[in-house]
Symmetry: C2
Subunit: 240 residues, 2 copies
Amino acid sequence: MSGEQEQRSRRIPEATVVRLPVYERILNDQLRAGVTTISSEHLATLARVSAAKVRKDLSLLGSFGTRGTGYDTEFLISQIDRALGVDRDWPVAVVGIGNLGRALVNSEGFSSRGFRVAALFDIDPSVIGEEVGPSSVVVKHIDELPESLAGSNCPAIGVVATPAPAAQMVTDALVSVGIPSILNFAPRVLTVPTDVLLRYVDLSIELQVMSFYQRLRSEEVEGPLPQLRAVGLTPGAELG
Amino acid sequence: MSGEQEQRSRRIPEATVVRLPVYERILNDQLRAGVTTISSEHLATLARVSAAKVRKDLSLLGSFGTRGTGYDTEFLISQIDRALGVDRDWPVAVVGIGNLGRALVNSEGFSSRGFRVAALFDIDPSVIGEEVGPSSVVVKHIDELPESLAGSNCPAIGVVATPAPAAQMVTDALVSVGIPSILNFAPRVLTVPTDVLLRYVDLSIELQVMSFYQRLRSEEVEGPLPQLRAVGLTPGAELG
DNA sequence: CCTTGTGAATCTATTCACAGCG
DNA sequence: CGCTGTGAATAGATTCACAAGG
């Protein structure tokens, strides 16, 4: 065919998307250490992936490297940030202010990557009213969620950090106010409308995957250790 | 039962291993609800994956189904448990008893899936000596790790739940006592010997992946193609 | 020389489609 | 019949290998 159809932004595979934050973190470390230029080989060593993978990943964002030299660290960071959308403000609502919810809100990666705690909810009276996190957001009762997040107060991302039995109900509430993306930490498969983006993080699945490989290894003496990615999370974290 | 060594032919892809705990959890729910037989179609619906994927996954464990009927729920659970190795005792050491470490130790999936808290470590004097988790294990100082876990006390899995700057040091200590598998929650790429199994769980990566897809979606909406599509993730998401 | 960027080849995972069996 | 189990086809991701360019 004669003309190439105008491609909307180059399609980036999910496997690449998951590695981009890792590259970004390493590049920031390197920049702070005074490394202003970095080769795919060097970045690959630090991320424990192959250099070809780094080049392929980065080439999907555009041609930012200089042949014979490498990539400009600072510029590459800015391009990855732009691709990831972390140069924007991402208000996040967290439901379930137990240890997990607190860990998330207090984590380094949260505030430093453009994510902002917009609202916190729990059902436990002893937690409601408490100020949590670096930005000291007050925990509200889950019943206040609908009115609290309605309209222009609707955050971009909802985090479900409740026990499993409450997860679907909480998710329904988040969907009702119009939240377009949900990150679920509860060990349960959730149902959402097809236009809602849903991802999972499941601590116990990771432990069970480890026990699988360890059992395998102890049974197979010659065990060819599964060469797992050094980077990122479960590729199948999208069971929803 | 199972005496045969079928290493080559029965190799299970990682993508399948990650789904097995999900199937197992759903099957337990179903069994508790009185469902003693289940079809691949039904299980697939509950897990939000395709029926073909369920059948392919399960067939890798063996031929446990009955044609025309489906799978016996209880038997299937036992077979998945066996494959995952969760019918064994898995002593786990957790380093870093902040919110994340506590969330893990207290999580449902931990004790209920054969994982046992063998030891807890931190560096904060205000935490050391505290009894944490359902089994009330006393937190020890990180300096006691080497002697505490030496020899026959060496756990099967080490969990790194420290801040990023401490993660590599802690990992080195865990590797030194002979721990064969490490689950890292710190936002940092770790270096381990090739015979140590290493997996990552990174909360901030998941958030950044979400912001990537959400940004993509918001840009597509303003583009010339108003076509509604479940963005990015699930191949089976369009089942709706 | 260097290192990037990328088609081609390879490896891995998913889906299709139907034979085979209860 | 209905449903499993599985080769064959397809889609996706990684690695290879080298041309192109500073």
